[in-house]
Symmetry: C2
Subunit: 410 residues, 2 copies
C-alpha cells in the first residue's frame, strides 16, 4: 500500500478510448489499496488548437486571457476520467488547479507554484476517492486569476503535488518507454536507462530531451521525490529518476543529447575595451533572450569577436537588438548563422573519470566534424557543430562511448 | 449613457470571425460611453460535442463531472473576446461564473442562481473595463463545485446579472431578428413583434418557441428588467420584452406556437374509484416526468379513461411506469400515441376579448383538423392535434387571426 501521484500526458488522454485505458491503470493500482492522485494534461493537440484560436483573435494575445483560454483544456480531460472511474464503481472526483489548492505567483503563462494547500485533496482522499487533478494550471490570488505553468507544466504539477502531499512516488506516464541513452529515432540501438540521477536528467532535459519539464526535475531533486517515467502504452519498466547513487558513477556517459533549435550570432571586430561586452549583453537581457554559450576571440589591433548561441525562435529578435548595440560600440558587423546545433554528453561518471571530454573531441574529429564552440559543466560536455552533422555526431558518440551496452549497476 | 448587459448566443460566437463582429458591436456601444457587461455562450456545437464525449465516457455520466466538463465551453469564448477587445485598445477582462460572483444551489446540470456578489464586476467596471462573463455557469459553495444552469442558461445569466447590477436594459443577441408571430419556416408571412409582455413571452417560451430560456423571462418579469431580443447578424430593431402595457391588449392574439415533441398516453378503463388517479400520477412523479395536459373521460360501468401528454423523449419511461400502475389498479390497458403535437395561441388581448378560443376551434374545424385535447390559461389556448397536421393548423390560425397585419400599438 503506497501513496502514488500519477501524471498522464496529452497523448495518453488524447480521446475517450485512451482515457479508458488510463482508467484501467488507475483502477488496478487503486484495487491494490494504494492512495491515488492522478494529474492529467489536456488532450494532445488541444493546447495547440487553443493557441491557434488566440492567434486568430490577436497578434499579441493578452497573457491573462491566454491563461483563461489554455486552462480550459484540462477541464475536459479531468471530468471525463472521473466519469469513467465512477461508472466503474470507483469513487473519484475531478479538481481544478484552484480546487486542488495550487497557488502560484501572478506571472501569466509561466507562473511558478508558491504554495499548495493540500486540505481539499486530503478531504477527498480520506473519503477514499481517486482525486483527478488538472495539470498545468494554478490560481494566483495576487491577480485573482487562473495561471498556467508553461509548456510541460503538468509534470511540475505532479511532482509538486507529490512533494506537498508527501506521496511515496511520482509516476509520469508518457508516450516513450522511459529515458534513453539517446534519441532512438537517430540511433536505433539507443538503450533505455534503468536509473538516472536528478542532475543528469536536468542536464538532459535542459539540453533538449523532451521527456520531463526541467522545473519538475528541479523540484523532485530539491525534495528528493523519486520519479518513475514510463510509457502509458506499453508495460515496460520505465526509468527511475532519483538522487545520485554510487553505482551510477560506474557509467562513464549516461546519455547523448542534441538540440537543433539553435542559432549562432557573431559580433565581429568589437573594440576590446571595458563596457563593450556589457552593452552587448544588456541589449539581449533587455529583450529577455536566453543566451546559451558565449566565446570571445581576442584578435589583432585591439579588436575582438564575440560569438554566442540563442534559441532559433529568438534569433531574429536577438539580431536586431545586437545590431543596435554593435553600432553603438562601433563593432564592424553582426553575423547570424542558422546552420548550427548542439550535441552533448551527460553523465555523473565524468566526475570520477578523466579524459571524457578529450575522448568526445577525438570521436568528433575522427568523424570529420568541426567543433565551433564548447561548453562544459561537471557532468556534461556540449559542442556546437553544423546542424546537418548533428545526427552523424550523435551516432558517433553513442557508438564511441559504447552506450548501447548495458552497464553493470550494482 | 446607459448601463447595458448584452448576451451573445452560440451561433454569434461560433468562431473567431464572429467574435470579431461581436467585438465591433461591443466597441461601438462602449464608445458611446455606455457601461458594458457582455455574457457569452460557448461556441455553437461545442456543448453538443462535450456531451458526446461524456456519452462515450459513461452511459450515465456523473452530473457533478458533467458540469465541470460543460463549463469549459465558455472559458474558450470569453478570453477570446477579451483578447480581441484588448488588441483594439479597449480595456476588457473575462470572468468565469465564480469570478463574476454568480452563486447557485448545488443542483448540478440545472442549478438555480441563489445570489450574485457584484463586487468583482463593479471593481472592473469602475476601472472602465468591458466585463466579459461566462454564461451558463455558476459556483455552488455548498458542493464546492462549478454548476451549470441548464440549456439556454446564458439567457438567465444575462438577465440575472442585469437585475443584480441594476443595469438599464438587457440585450439578448441571437440568430433570429426577434420574436415572431409564429415560426417563419412554416408561415413566411410571420411578422416580427415590436413589443411583447413578459407573460406572453413566458407562454410562448414554455410552449416551444426557443428564443429565450423560460427562467430568464421569469427573472426579468419579477424584477421588471426590459429585454431586447435581436439578431447579431442583421441590424433589425428586434423585439422588446417588457411589462404589459395597455396598448398590448389591442392585439387579439400575439403569436401562434407549436410543439411537435409530444406524446399522448391513454390509460383505458380505469376503475372510477378514489385513489386510482393518485396511483397513476404518483408513478409519473416517481420517475420525474413532466405531465403537460390531462383529460379524463367518464365512461360506462364505473370505468373511466385518462389521457395525458408528456414530452416525446420521456414517453418510454412514462409508459413503463404507467403500465406498472395500471396493472396495480386493474386498468385494462395503456396506449401510447406518438403522432400528436400541440398548437397554441397566446395573447394578453384574450383577457379583454371574448370568443377567442371558440374562434380558434372553428378555424381548426373548418380546416378539417380534429382536436383531441384542450387546455387554456388566461392568455393562452392550446390544442392537441395530430402531429402531421401541426403545420397546417399553424398556417390556418396565423391567417385566421390576421396576424400578418401590423397592429396599431399606441
Amino acid at each position: 500500500m503506497a501513496f502514488i501521484v500519477q501524471k498522464y500526458g496529452g497523448t495518453s488522454v488524447a480521446d475517450v478510448e485512451r482515457l479508458k485505458k488510463v482508467a484501467d491503470k488507475v483502477a488496478s493500482r487503486k484495487a491494490e489499496g494504494n492512495r491515488m492522485v492522478v494529474v492529467l494534461s489536456a488532450m494532445a493537440g488541444e493546447t495547440n488548437s487553443l493557441v491557434e484560436l488566440a492567434k486568430q483573435a490577436s497578434d499579441n494575445p493578452d497573457e491573462r486571457e491566454m491563461d483563461m483560454l489554455l486552462s480550459s483544456g484540462e477541464r475536459i480531460t479531468i471530468p471525463l476520467l472521473a466519469m469513467i472511474l465512477k461508472s466503474r464503481g470507483i469513487d473519484a472526483i475531478s479538481l481544478t488547479g484552484r480546487q486542488s489548492g495550487i497557488f502560484t505567483d501572478g506571472a501569466h503563462t509561466k507562473a511558478r507554484i508558491r504554495n499548495i494547500d493540500t486540505k481539499n485533496i486530503f478531504k477527498w482522499l480520506e473519503r477514499d476517492h481517486v482525486v483527478v487533478v488538472a495539470g498545468f494550471q494554478g490560481y494566483s490570488e495576487e491577480v485573482d486569476s487562473v495561471t498556467t505553468l508553461g509548456r510541460g507544466g503538468s509534470d511540475t504539477t505532479a511532482v509538486a503535488l507529490a512533494v506537498a502531499l508527501k506521496a511515496d512516488q511520482c509516476e509520469i506516464y508518457t508516450d516513450v518507454d522511459g529515458v534513453f541513452t539517446t534519441d532512438p529515432r537517430i540511433v536505433p540501438e539507443a538503450r533505455r536507462i534503468d536509473r538516472i540521477s536528478y542532475e543528469e536528467m536536468l542536464e538532459m532535459a535542459s539540453l533538449g530531451a523532451k521527456v520531463l519539464q526541467t522545473r519538475s526535475v528541479e523540484f523532485a531533486a530539491k525534495y528528493n521525490m523519486p520519479i518513475l517515467v514510463k510509457s502509458s502504452f506499453t508495460n515496460g519498466p520505465g526509468t527511475w529518476v532519483t538522487a545520485e547513487e554510487p553505482s551510477m558513477e560506474e557509467v562513464l556517459v549516461s546519455g547523448v543529447v542534441y538540440n537543433k533549435d539553435q542559432a549562432k550570432i557573431t559580433i565581429a571586430d568589437v573594440p576590446d575595451k571595458p563596457g563593450c561586452a556589457a552593452k552587448i549583453f544588456d541589449s539581449l537581457a533587455h529583450h529577455n533572450i536566453n543566451v546559451d554559450m558565449i566565446i570571445q576571440n581576442v584578435g589583432e589591433k585591439g579588436l575582438t569577436s564575440i560569438s554566442l548561441t540563442v534559441p532559433s525562435d529568438e534569433s531574429k529578435k536577438a539580431l536586431s537588438g545586437l545590431k543596435g548595440a554593435a553600432s553603438e560600440i562601433k563593432a564592424r558587423e553582426v553575423l547570424l548563422e542558422e546552420n548550427v546545433g548542439k550535441v552533448s554528453i551527460v553523465g555523473v561518471g565524468m566526475r570520477s573519470h578523466t579524459g571524457v571530454a578529450a575522448r568526445m573531441f577525438r570521436l568528433l574529429a575522427d568523424g570529420g566534424i568541426n567543433i565551433q564552440m564548447i561548453s562544459t559543466s561537471e557532468i556534461k560536455v556540449s559542442c556546437v557543430i553544423r546542424k546537418d552533422e548533428i545526427d552523424k555526431a550523435v551516432k558517433l558518440l553513442h557508438d564511441g562511448f559504447e552506450m548501447e551496452k548495458e552497464k553493470t549497476v550494482k
